[in-house]
């Protein structure tokens, strides 16, 4: 049986994710997404990945979701709520969900494919071995600038490409399409 905090945050995460999918208002969906991301960040904290939890809240729940909300307000297209309720689609979606969820439950609880090991003691803040799991943000820097130096450079280049791409995409087109 998992401990209480995990159950609480797992329930919060799953409930907010359901709100994201089920709500017909795009702004409510975005709020559900923010709550889901905060719940996942709390789960990162429970897994002793403190740096990633903070990063998740800062980058995802902060920057990315503000961008989403901004675009939702900008487009303000609430056409989906004005049409009739899509019963056929909703039934199909529920069937798909229960089929997939049953598969997930079977895989993780009854198939016996995964060992039910406990996490063990909380690791030290910074260990001598650079590859070992630690809670300190320093160990990220160590790995990023030694073992993962090339991926780090590539992701920096990717951010630059995305920057240029977004600027060229959002420029006003010269000749309007009739």
């Amino acid at each position: 049986m998992p401990d209480g905090l995990f159950i609480f945050f797992a329930a919060l995460t799953l409930g907010a994710a359901s709100l994201l999918v089920l709500s017909r208002n795009a702004v409510t969906s975005a709020m559900g997404m923010i709550l889901t991301l905060v719940g996942v960040a709390a789960d990162f904290f429970l897994l002793d990945a403190y740096f990633l939890g903070v990063l998740q809240v800062l980058v995802y729940a902060g920057a990315v979701m503000v961008l989403f909300l901004f675009i939702i307000m900008l487009l303000s297209d609430s056409g989906e709520s004005s049409t009739a309720y899509p019963w056929k689609q909703a039934t199909l979606g529920l069937a798909i969900f229960f089929f997939l969820a049953a598969g997930v439950f079977w895989l993780f609880l009854w198939s016996g494919a995964l060992p039910h090991t406990a996490a063990g003691a909380t690791p030290p803040e910074l260990s001598a071995n650079p590859g070992e799991f630690t809670t300190s943000a320093k160990s990220f820097g160590r790995l990023l600038y030694t073992k993962y130096l090339l991926p780090l450079q590539i992701s920096g280049f990717l951010l630059l490409v995305a920057l240029v791409g977004v600027v060229s995409l959002s420029k006003e087109p010269k000749n309007e399409v009739p």
Partner: protein
């Protein structure tokens, strides 16, 4: 955290992924579909962190770092594409985007 096993975290990640996949399949608002895609990415990062923690290695957590970077870039480009699409078609409902069908 003594009683929470790897299977519990993976179960949560799997259910989050399934919810996101269902949303991508059934929703029609492009922005909500996009948020559901992000939800699937987040579920994958949760599984990576869980494996990293229970394996006592740092590599999974570093992968999550890269995933967050790529997801941020992807969101920026995707939203710019959606805005450009809205400018042309005046809608973000995927069932009304049928220009190639007619």
């Amino acid at each position: 955290m003594e009683n929470t096993t790897l299977a519990h975290h993976l179960l949560l990640a799997g259910l989050l992924f399934v919810i996101g996949l269902t949303g991508v399949l059934v929703r029609r608002n492009l922005l909500v579909i996009y948020m559901c895609l992000e939800l699937m990415l987040t579920a994958a990062t949760l599984a990576l962190v869980a494996f990293s923690r229970f394996n006592q290695t740092m590599d999974g957590a570093v992968f999550v770092f890269f995933i967050i970077t790529v997801a941020a870039a992807e969101v920026a480009v995707g939203l710019a594409l959606i805005v450009a699409l809205f400018r042309q078609q005046k809608t973000v409902q995927s069932n009304e985007l049928n220009t190639l069908c007619d």
